[in-house]
Amino acid sequence: MRSLKISIQQQDFSIDDECAAMRAGHKDIGALATFTGLVRELDDMGTASSARQSVSSLYLEHYPGMTEKNLQEIAEEADQRWPLLDVVIIHRIGELKVSEQIVFVGVSSMHREAAFAACAFIMDYLKTKAAFWKKSNSGEGKENDGHWVEAKKSDTKATEKWAETKQKR
């Protein structure tokens, strides 16, 4: 991995600016894969008994110090699996309204296979291994009417799938 940028921030980010910065001055990049996560209006709680609820905003909390370390380790693990050039991971914290951007992962490589796979891998691992917690506030917009989002089994399964397929390059 040639470079790694990790940023945990309250302010929004620009996908265009991040991509432009990743491309600037690098003639060896053949593939740039990015993922952007957004605040979705419909909650899915993962339990069959709870009805889907309308979400007005999310509150994102992290563990300063540990979260950055988690993200660094995830990027390094991706780098061991695929030939990567540059990696950018941005995660927002604080109050985020519906349709706002939460997370950005950008991975550049010489070829698409590594860029696609590493981007998906980093997101799957971020979901289950990075110290972030999400509180969901429902439609009324009242303070503290929210609930802490439960960890999803499907996210754990996605991470386990990568562990099974681990092969050193």
């Binding site: 997370v103 979901k127 990075a130 110290a131 917690w133 999400k134």
Partner: protein, 84 residues
Amino acid sequence: MVTVHYFASIREKLGLSSEQVELPTQVDTVDALAALLIEQHGSAWESVLKKSSVLVAVNQSVASFTSSVTNEDEIAFFPPVTGG
């Protein structure tokens, strides 16, 4: 002194984000620290720290309840992560 951090739903349930605790010599594991905190604070801590889903970090690395702790360490208790 150890610094103990609480995050997310645990922080809210306890109404506390962090505290400093002096470890008696016999308290040398996360498990023993949890027992000490329950003894000092009571039932709210018991309901949170005895939950099977609670996770722990020692000095910002994922640890377990059998991990050792010493004064100066930074301990954190938190629920499963839900970022992204």
